[in-house]
């Protein structure tokens, strides 16, 4: 028997397939686009094909993410907070603090050290500092989203500060900085530090002593080493990042599917 977890986010739809022992066999990340049902089908088909597993051999599916109610034939829909907690415990056991930045929200999750959520906080009111924010900034900078981490590494740092975190205003501020001749790596660094400052405030709400906890980061934004470094610096610790950070939620969902099927 195999178990599938599907995480339908605003930017990407992620799927992970695990075997009876809970070992990940395959994963996929596809853009969610405007029709998330199609993205779900594509992600599902990809992992089954990669692992050479037939639909009939699926022992259970658990969905998560904002589109979790759109997955048909699921055992359960579980929130991404619980799924990320479960997923990170499988990949980085003993994690006590998880920062998850996805397409449209940021979360700080305090864990008990065995994958259970003790407390969580989510971004208030607006989605500044999330994946969508970085996507807009990369567009304004005319660089690939995947290059932001590498550009940040080239910055001398702290020469620039962004005054607005509103996506629209920050975008125009970035455009102005480019026009004024600011170096792109410095702008990227400033963006990352601004995200880190917001994230730090979020983390402090659940873990005032974040520096003493084993901390990790998940979600697509964790692929950006510049953001990971900046948040770690703000919190006074080094954030661990699992090998596939964007599929942590889907992995957690797959593991919950395995548990639920057994019970």
């Amino acid at each position: 028997m195999y178990f599938l977890g599907v995480d339908i986010g605003s930017l990407s739809c992620d799927a992970v397939l695990v075997d009876e022992g809970g070992r990940p066999l395959a994963w996929s990340v596809v853009p969610t686009g405007a029709r998330n049902v199609e993205a779900i089908a594509a992600a599902r088909a990809q992992v089954l094909e990669q692992a050479g597993v037939a639909e009939a051999d699926l022992g259970g599916v658990v969905s998560t993410g904002y589109g979790r109610a759109r997955v048909e034939g699921r055992l359960a829909a579980v929130t991404e907070i619980t799924c990320h907690a479960r997923g990170i415990e499988a990949q980085l056991p003993g994690t006590r603090l998880l920062v998850d930045i996805g397409g449209q929200d940021s979360k700080a999750i305090l864990l008990d050290g065995s994958g259970r959520v003790v407390e969580f906080a989510m971004n208030d009111k607006c989605a500044a500092g999330t994946g969508r924010f970085l996507e807009a900034m990369a567009r304004a900078l005319q660089v690939e989203l995947t290059r932001l981490g590498e550009l940040d590494a080239r910055a001398a740092g702290r020469s620039l500060t962004l005054s607005s975190m509103c996506t629209v205003f920050a975008e125009s501020e970035v455009v102005s900085l480019i026009a004024e001749g600011a170096e792109v790596p410095e702008i990227v660094n400033a963006l990352h530090r601004a995200i880190a400052a917001r994230t730090q405030a979020l983390v402090r709400r659940v873990a005032p002593d974040a520096a003493t906890l084993g901390a990790a980061m998940s979600g697509g934004v964790a692929r950006n080493a510049g953001v990971v470094r900046a948040i770690g610096a703000a919190l006074g610790c080094v954030l661990q990042v699992p090998p596939e950070p964007d599929t942590v939620g889907a992995l957690g969902a797959a593991l919950i599917a395995r548990e639920r099927a057994a019970s």
């Binding site: 579980v78 991404e80 907070i81 959520v117 003790v118 208030d124 009111k125 709400r205």
Partner: protein, 411 residues
């Protein structure tokens, strides 16, 4: 627009109550009927001998009732407009006049309704400096708009004996102000009757809140929604006693029969401050997640019976006992007590936008409830303005909170 609404509501509920079977729930409808009657009195054209006062939330409505004044807190109108889906043009009107969307939407709604000519002209106004100064500003603004006299009660921050003396003295001066407006002196017999009715209602409220602590919680989804604050408008009248008795009897019956107000109650929640007033899927989301709101912060009796021999001191003590007055530690202590009394698993703080009471103490409240083992979910919603409601985000927060509470053994 508003008067026909209350008239239709009144006749509709009255007719419905006539047809209800003996075992059908009626308390909420009985309560709504009294609110509709109040609405009709407030919004009807002026009639000889009838006086209307717009007030702050903490005004002594039973004392005003004893003086023959129909009174109501202005925020009631904001909530009513939101619940009927009519609030957006009012908010837009206030914003068009320059009010920031960061201002409290209860107050923006009242301001907008005034600008649209929907607020009835009062005979006079009474502001209370607690629970918020925004409320004072709205009442002041109404007084200026209608060119009617205003009395401001400065609720002291100190809640000890000196605070009581100071506030009781202001209430006496308020009576003198009302007498001047109405031309009629306060009748001691009528005051005594009003205080006796207040005390009768109080006893019944204590009983019904005690019953609401049962497991499973006997109150249905909207039974006690907006109850504690709004019943205050009826205090000093037979109506308050009748409504409280109906609730008491109904909850008693349900507790005896073990009937859950919210079927499938797995986790029990304490709701802080105000509910979301406009129609939203929030309550359904909570219930789908197995969560029942078993107690609202404002549904509690924090005051002792009013001493018939010293009514002004008794009323002053009651005002000061409301935990939205004075230092926040008192509010936190009440929340901790409610959390224990009702054996809640978690608490929900809507953190109403633009409200310092709602958001200012967010961290302190979280810490205070954490001390008694109760996690808090901060929703960050506007309770009146539906334009910024984001159901997807809220659903994730609510479901994740319910999952967290279930993992802790709450469900």
């Amino acid at each position: 627009m508003i008067l026909p609404y209350f008239e239709n509501l009144q006749s509709g509920i009255a007719a419905k109550l006539e047809t209800l079977g003996a075992n059908e729930p009626r308390a909420r409808k009985r309560f709504a009927l009294e609110i509709a009657r109040l609405g009709v009195r407030l919004f009807s054209p002026p009639r000889p001998g009838e006086r209307v006062a717009w007030c702050g939330v903490l005004a002594p409505f039973d004392l005003l009732h004893a003086m023959g004044v129909t009174s109501c807190f202005a925020e009631f109108v904001g909530a009513m407009l939101a619940s009927t889906g009519a609030v957006e043009p009012m908010l837009a009107a206030a914003e068009g006049a320059g009010y920031s969307t960061d201002c409290c939407s209860y107050h923006r709604a009242v301001t907008g309704a005034t600008m649209q000519g929907l607020m009835p002209k009062p005979d006079f106004l009474i502001a209370t400096s607690a629970p918020c100064t925004g409320g004072v500003a709205v009442i002041e603004s109404l007084a200026r708009h209608f060119e009617r006299p205003l009395f401001v009660i400065h609720v002291p921050q100190r809640t000890d004996g000196r605070g009581v003396v100071q506030l009781a003295d202001q209430l006496r001066r308020m009576v003198a102000f009302v007498e001047e407006q109405t031309g009629e002196p306060l009748d001691p017999a009528r005051l005594a009757r009003s205080m006796a009715l207040t005390n009768q209602a109080r006893e019944l409220l204590v009983e019904l809140y005690d019953l609401a602590r049962a497991r499973p919680g006997p109150a249905r989804r909207r039974d006690l929604f907006n109850f504690g604050l709004v019943i205050g408008l009826l205090l000093g009248s037979e109506a308050a006693v009748e409504v409280a008795r109906t609730y008491r009897d109904e909850l008693n019956l349900r507790v005896e029969r073990g009937v859950a107000g919210v079927p499938g109650e797995r986790v029990r929640l304490l709701w802080l401050q105000n509910r979301v007033q406009f129609r939203s899927p929030l309550e359904e989301m909570l219930e789908n997640a197995g969560a029942a709101v078993v107690v609202d912060e404002l549904n509690s009796v924090t005051w002792e019976p009013i001493d018939a021999d010293r009514p002004f001191e008794g009323l002053a003590r009651r005002m000061l006992s409301i935990p939205l007055c004075g230092p926040v530690e008192r509010r936190i202590a009440l929340l901790q007590r409610l959390a224990r009394d009702y054996t809640v698993d978690g608490a929900v703080n809507p953190c109403h936008w633009g409200c310092r009471q709602g958001s200012g103490a967010r961290g302190l409240i979280e810490r205070g409830l954490r001390e008694v083992g109760v996690p808090v979910l901060n929703l960050e919603v506007d309770c009146v303005d539906p334009r910024s409601f984001a159901p997807g985000q809220l659903q994730t927060r609510i479901e994740a909170f319910a999952e967290l509470l279930s993992q802790r053994g709450g469900g």
